[in-house]
C-alpha cells in the first residue's frame, strides 16, 4: 500500500531541504521514491503546500523508571482529568478522557508526545539496577520509539576499577557490557562520583575533589568514561549531567568540565542549570554568555538546554546529593531521596517555578539566552529536561519564544523586574527559523544518537511524518499537527491521537571482551543482593516486554 502526500512543503535539514514543495511517498512504513511508469499511489492526501517535517526526537526526557514512578506515586493530588480541547476542524470534542499530572502516566506520555509530532523519546538516566523496570515501563509508552541511557560513574564497581587504575580497555569492556546488559543506546553520567560521595556523607563535590572513599576525582571519572564511550564507537557522546547542578557560580565548574573532555565528543545536558554566576546583590546571575562562548568555540560539545517553564512541576533526578540540598525548596513540601543498590541514587522534589521569584525568573531567561547565543543549531537540542524544568507539553510554547522575538519580549516584560535587568535577553534579536527548529528537534538529535533512519524524510527513512497546519502562531501550529504518521500509520489527526501502535526500543551493541564478565560476576556474588544473571536483560527477555517484538539494534564499531 503506498501513500502519497501531495504538495508537501518539505523541511528536511538532514537532506538539506528547506521548504521545497514536492510529493512524498510512503510504502511499508518507509519513505520511498515516487513510483515510476505513471503508477498511482493507493491513497493520496493533498497537503496543498503545508509544511512537513520528520517526526521530532526528544533526546532527554524522564519518561520511564524508578524515579519517574516515584514522582507519580508522590503526587496523586496533582493528577487531574485533562480537559480535551475541541477539534479544530469540526468544533466537537472527539477525544477520550485523559489525565494531566506533573509526571504523567505512560499512556499519557506517549499520546501527548505523538500529538505534538514527537515520534521518539529517550529516557536519559536509567540506573542499571533499575533497567528492567525502565524497559517494562517503556513497553507501556505507546506510539513513540524509545530508548534509554545507562547511568554510570557512581557505581561502586566502576569507581573501584578506576581507583585501582584499571586499563582503559577494561573500562571500555565494562561500559560496553553495561550497554548490553541494560539494553541501552548511550551512556549517561550524573554528578560523577558525587552521588556515591553523598552516601559517605559528603554534601558537595567539585570537579577536582577526591571522593571520600575511592580518592578519585569527578574529572577522572568523566574523563575515563568519555574516552570509553568514544573508543567503543557509540554514536552518542557521553551524556553528562555535570557537577554542581543548580549551584550559584557553577559556571566555573561547567567551563572546567568542557576542558576536561580534552576535545573528545561530549554532550552537556540541561545546561541552563549549570550556567550560573554569583554577580549582583542576590549573588545569582546569568553566565550564559560565557557558557555559550565556550560551546561555540568547542565543536566537540553538544548541549541540551533544560529550559525552565513557569508553573508547578516535579524534579526527578539521579543526583541525590543536589536533590537533597534542594528539598528544602520543595513545593508541595515533600520529597524523596534514595541511595540505590551500590549503583547510584535518586531524588524527587516537587517544585513550582514562579515568574515573581527572582531566581526562577532569571533561570527562565538563562535558558533562552543559551538557545539564542549558541550559534550552531546542530549542537543544541530543545528540552525542558522534562519534567525538571517543565512539562514536555510546553515545547510548542518554547518554540514560539525562540521564533517570535516580540512575543518573547512581551513575556520577558512580565517577569520579576530585577531579573529583567539581570538578563541580556531583551537585547537578543535572533529568531529561530523553521529550518533551525527542524534541525534542533529532528535532524540533530537523530544524528547525535546515530539513528540513521529517524529525523529525516529521505528515501529509506522511517515514515515518521508530521504535517503542520498553516498558522502564524508557532505555539498553536506545533501543538496541533494536522497529521502525524508513525512508520506510515496515521496516529494523530488535528492534534488528536487516533491510534496507538507500539513503537520500537532503540539500542546499541558495542564490542567487548567477554573476559570482563568474570570480575563483574564476582563483584555481584560478593557484594550485591542480586545475581548477575538476574540483573542482565537478554534480547529475548526484552522482546517479551513488547509481545515478542525485539529492539532495533545498531552495532558500534570499536575505534
Amino acid at each position: 500500500m503506498t501513500l502519497c502526500l501531495k504538495g508537501a512543503c518539505v523541511v528536511d535539514p538532514a537532506n538539506g531541504i528547506d521548504g521545497v514543495v514536492r510529493d512524498l511517498y510512503v510504502s511499508d512504513g518507509r519513505m520511498v521514491a515516487a513510483p515510476g511508469g505513471g503508477e498511482q499511489a493507493d491513497e493520496t492526501i493533498d497537503l496543498a503546500g503545508k509544511v512537513v517535517m520528520a517526526g521530532a526526537i526528544d533526546p532527554h526526557t524522564h519518561i520511564a523508571g524508578g524515579k519517574v514512578t516515584i514522582a507519580r506515586l508522590l503526587l496523586p493530588e496533582l493528577t487531574r482529568p485533562r480537559p480535551r480541547a475541541s477539534c479544530s476542524s469540526c468544533g466537537t470534542d472527539h477525544g477520550e478522557k485523559g489525565l494531566s499530572a506533573p509526571m504523567p502516566n505512560c499512556i499519557e506520555t506517549g499520546v501527548r508526545y505523538a500529538e505534538m509530532g514527537v515520534t521518539a523519546c529517550f529516557e536519559p538516566a536509567m540506573l542499571p539496577m533499575n533497567a528492567r523496570h525502565a524497559h517494562l515501563e517503556m513497553a507501556d509508552v505507546p506510539i513513540v520509539d524509545k530508548g534509554a541511557y545507562a547511568l554510570l560513574g557512581n557505581d561502586d564497581l566502576l569507581l573501584e576499577m578506576l581507583a585501582n587504575g584499571a586499563a582503559a580497555g577494561t573500562i571500555a569492556d565494562y561500559v560496553a557490557w553495561t550497554l548490553a546488559a541494560t539494553q541501552a543506546i548511550a551512556i549517561k553520567v550524573v554528578n560523577p562520583g558525587g552521588i556515591s560521595a553523598f552516601k559517605f556523607n559528603q554534601r558537595a563535590m567539585d570537579l577536582d575533589e577526591p571522593h571520600p572513599h575511592y580518592r578519585i576525582t569527578p574529572r577522572q571519572v568523566l574523563g575515563a568514561i568519555t574516552r570509553a564511550v568514544h573508543t567503543l564507537g557509540v554514536p552518542h557522546p557521553l551524556h553528562l549531567h555535570a557537577c554542581n547542578l543548580g549551584v550559584p557560580g557553577n559556571v566555573e565548574t561547567t567551563l572546567a568540565t568542557i576542558a576536561a573532555a580534552e576535545g573528545l565528543p561530549i554532550h552537556l545536558t540541561h545546561l541552563q542549570f549549570h550556567s550560573y554566576g554569583t554577580e549582583g546583590a542576590r549573588k545569582f546571575s546569568s553566565a550564559a554568555a560565557r557558557i555559550a562562548e565556550a560551546v561555540n568555540a568547542n565543536p566537540n560539545v553538544s548541549i541540551d538546554v533544560g529550559q525552565v517553564i513557569f508553573g508547578q512541576t516535579v524534579t526527578a533526578s539521579g543526583d541525590s546529593m543536589l536533590q537533597y540540598r534542594g528539598s528544602r525548596y520543595a513545593h508541595p513540601k515533600k520529597s524523596v531521596v534514595m541511595d540505590i543498590e551500590c549503583d547510584a541514587g535518586c531524588g524527587v522534589v516537587p517544585f513550582r517555578y514562579r515568574d515573581t521569584d527572582f531566581v526562577n525568573a532569571l533561570q527562565w531567561a538563562i535558558g533562552l539566552e543559551l538557545f539564542l547565543l549558541v550559534r550552531d543549531p546542530w549542537r543544541v537540542f530543545l528540552t525542558t529536561d522534562h519534567p525538571n524544568g517543565g512539562p514536555f507539553t510546553s515545547y510548542p510554547h518554547l518554540i514560539k519564544l525562540l521564533m517570535d522575538r516580540s512575543f518573547r519580549n512581551s513575556v520577558l516584560a512580565t517577569i520579576h523586574p530585577e531579573a529583567q535587568k539581570a538578563t541580556v535577553l531583551g537585547s537578543l534579536e535572533r529568531e529561530y527559523s523553521l529550518y533551525e527548529i527542524a534541525i534542533m528537534t529532528r535532524a540533530a538529535p537523530a544524528k547525535s544518537l546515530g539513528l540513521a533512519d529517524h529525523g529525516h524524510l529521505g528515501e529509506g527513512a522511517l515514515a515518521d511524518i508530521v504535517v503542520y497546519p498553516e498558522d502564524p502562531d508557532p505555539e498553536r501550529r506545533f501543538a496541533s499537527p494536522l497529521y502525524v504518521f508513525k512508520r506510515g500509520d496515521l496516529v494523530v489527526r488535528d492534534g488528536r491521537c487516533i491510534a496507538m501502535p507500539v513503537g520500537y526500543v532503540q539500542t546499541i551493541a558495542a564490542e567487548y571482551d567477554r573476559g570482563i564478565e568474570g570480575p563483574v560476576a564476582e563483584h555481584f556474588e560478593r557484594y550485591r543482593t542480586v545475581r548477575v544473571e538476574h540483573f542482565a536483560i537478554s534480547k529475548e527477555e526484552l522482546a517479551s516486554f513488547s509481545g515478542g517484538r525485539g529492539a532495533e539494534v545498531r552495532a558500534a564499531r570499536r575505534r
Partner: protein, 481 residues
C-alpha cells in the same frame, strides 16, 4: 475418559522443556556436552540438571530429566532472594534454601494444572469463562482484589478494572497503608538492600525483629559474608519495640546494641524524644534517650527498618511519621535512611505498575474508564469489611495466596489452585504460575530492582493476563486504552 496416569501427565507437563538427548542416565561427560549446547544456544548460563522420578506407585516409570534454572527468584517475601535452588519432585517443587517460608510457599505450587470449576463442580475453561463474564456483566460494585500477581498480572488486572469500572485494590494493602500515607504526605529518605548490606554500620529496628518480615534479613542484608565499606563485626543493631528475649539469637551474628522495650504509644513517645535529642531541643524526662541520641549521631550510615503492618494500631501512621522525622533530623549531620520492610513483593509490584499505567498507586477506582485514587474511599479492606461489593474477583498468580471473602458478593477466583480447606467460590479459573510455567517479573519491596521469573515447565492453562483479558467484556471508555 480415563484420566492419564501420573507419568503420562508428568511427561506432558515436561513437553517442550529442553531435555538431555539420548540416554536416560547420562554420563557426566554427556551432561557436560549438553550443558555446552544449551549455553551456546543463548539460554541462561547456569543450569542445574535434576533427575526426578514420577510417583512411586508407577514402578516402571523411567526417571525423566528436567532442566531447571540454576537459581531462581523467590517471590514470597519482600526480600525476593534470587539464589533459591529448586528441585522438581513429581508434581511439586522443593526449594533448597535456609528459609522456611520459601520452602513452604514453593511447596504449595503445583506443576500440573487444576480443573476449572463452576459452582463447585468441574467445568471446561470455556464454561467457567462464560459464566464469569455473565457475573461481571451484572456487577455494579465490582472489586478486583487479591492481586498476588506479577507485572503482567498487574497490567491485566488494571485493564480489567478499567473495562469493568471496578475498584482495584490489593488485599494486603492495609499492611503498607501507613507507609503509603506518610509517603504521600511528606516523602522519605530510603535505601535499598545492597546499600544497607555494604554501607550500614548501624541498624535500628522499630517494632519488628525484621526476621518476621524477611526470614533471611540477617544473611542477605544485615550481616553478609562480605561488605564493601563497613565491617560486619563492628555493626550494631538497636531495637525499639515490644520486649523480645530471643532477639539476640534471632539476629546473630549481628551484635545487639541498645534496646528499649516499648509497646504501642510508648514506641512513638521514644521516637519523638530521640528526635528531639538529635535536633538539640531540650526535653525534661531523658531516661534512656541520651544514649540513643549519641549512638545514632555517631553512626556513619544508619538504616532504620520497620514493618508498617506490625506497628500497633492506632499508632502506626504516627510511628512511621516519627521514624521519617528522625531520619530527616539525623541526615543533617550524618547519613541515615529508612528501609520499610514489606513482606509481600506483589504489593510493591502492583503499586509500581498501577503507578506507571494510571499515574498513581493503589487503590484505584475506575469511573467511566478514568482512574481515581482515594485510599480512604476505595480501600479494599474497608469495602470487604462493609460488604460493599456485589462481585469480587480474587486474582492470584501463585497458589496459597489469601482470598477476599464477602458474604453477599458473587466470587470469581482466578488462581493456580484452590485451597481445599476453604469453601469453593462460584467460579474458579486455574492459571499458570510465573517462574514455573510462564515468564514474569516482580519487584523487590525496596522498590528499585525488578527480577525475572523464568519458566521451566510448559503451561497447560492460560496465564493470569490471558484469563483477565477474556473477562474484560465490552470496552468501556478507555483512558488507558
Amino acid at each position: 475418559m480415563k484420566p492419564p496416569c501420573a507419568d503420562e501427565r508428568i511427561r506432558r507437563a515436561n513437553k517442550g522443556i529442553p531435555r538431555v538427548q539420548g540416554s536416560l542416565r547420562p554420563s557426566p561427560s554427556h551432561l557436560a556436552r549438553e550443558m555446552q549446547r544449551l549455553n551456546a544456544s543463548g539460554m541462561p548460563r547456569s543450569f542445574l540438571v535434576c533427575i526426578a522420578r514420577a510417583d512411586s506407585s508407577a514402578k516402571t516409570t523411567p526417571p525423566y530429566i528436567s532442566i531447571v534454572p540454576h537459581r531462581v527468584v523467590c517471590p514470597f517475601c519482600g526480600l525476593a532472594c534470587d539464589d533459591v535452588e529448586l528441585r522438581v519432585a513429581a508434581d511439586r517443587l522443593d526449594a533448597e534454601v535456609d528459609c522456611a517460608r520459601s520452602r513452604l510457599r514453593f511447596g504449595e505450587q503445583r506443576l500440573l494444572a487444576s480443573q476449572p470449576q463452576v459452582a463447585g463442580r468441574a467445568a471446561t475453561a470455556e464454561e467457567a469463562l462464560s459464566a464469569a463474564q455473565q457475573i461481571l456483566d451484572g456487577g455494579e460494585r465490582i472489586l478486583v482484589t487479591g492481586l498476588a500477581v506479577d507485572v503482567a498480572g498487574a497490567r491485566a488486572a488494571i485493564r480489567l478494572a478499567q473495562r469493568r469500572n471496578a475498584v482495584l485494590g490489593h488485599l494486603a494493602s492495609s499492611r503498607a497503608l501507613p507507609n503509603q500515607r506518610m509517603f504521600e504526605r511528606r516523602g522519605w529518605i530510603t535505601t535499598t538492600y545492597s546499600e544497607a548490606r555494604n554501607h550500614a554500620d548501624c541498624f535500628v529496628l522499630v517494632g519488628t525483629d525484621a526476621i518476621g518480615a524477611y526470614p533471611r534479613f540477617v544473611q542477605r542484608v544485615a550481616a553478609p559474608a562480605q561488605a564493601l565499606f563497613s565491617s560486619v563485626a563492628d555493626r550494631r543493631v538497636h531495637y525499639l519495640g515490644p520486649p523480645d528475649a530471643a532477639l539476640a539469637g534471632k539476629l546473630a551474628p549481628l551484635a545487639l546494641g541498645l534496646t528499649h522495650d516499648a509497646e504501642g504509644g510508648a514506641i512513638l513517645d521514644a521516637l519523638l524524644r530521640i528526635t528531639a535529642g538529635v535536633r538539640g531541643v531540650a526535653r525534661s524526662d531523658e531516661a534512656s534517650t541520651p544514649a540513643w541520641v549519641e549512638t545514632l549521631q555517631r553512626a556513619k550510615y544508619g538504616v532504620i527498618a520497620w514493618e508498617a503492618g506490625r506497628l500497633p494500631a492506632p499508632h502506626a501512621e504516627l510511628i512511621v511519621e516519627a521514624i521519617l522525622a528522625l531520619i530527616e533530623a539525623l541526615n543533617v549531620k550524618t547519613r541515615f535512611a529508612g528501609l520499610p520492610l514489606v513482606p509481600d513483593t506483589t504489593l510493591t509490584t502492583t503499586n509500581q505498575v498501577t503507578g506507571w499505567l494510571a499515574g498513581f498507586g493503589l487503590p484505584v477506582a475506575f469511573v467511566d474508564g478514568v482512574p481515581t485514587h482515594d485510599a480512604e474511599r476505595f480501600s479494599a479492606a474497608r469495602w470487604i469489611e462493609a460488604g460493599v461489593p456485589d462481585v469480587v474477583v480474587n486474582v492470584a498468580a501463585w497458589a496459597g495466596a489469601p482470598r477476599a471473602r464477602v458474604a453477599s458478593a458473587r466470587e470469581i477466583v482466578v488462581a493456580p489452585a484452590l485451597d481445599a480447606k476453604q469453601p469453593a467460590p462460584e467460579i474458579f479459573i486455574p492459571v499458570a504460575v510465573p517462574g514455573v510455567h510462564v515468564r514474569g517479573q516482580i519487584f523487590r519491596a525496596d522498590g528499585v530492582v525488578a527480577l525475572p521469573l523464568v519458566p521451566f515447565v510448559e503451561a497447560s492453562v492460560p496465564s493470569v493476563a490471558e484469563v483477565l483479558a477474556r473477562l474484560e467484556g465490552v470496552a468501556a471508555g478507555s483512558a488507558l486504552a
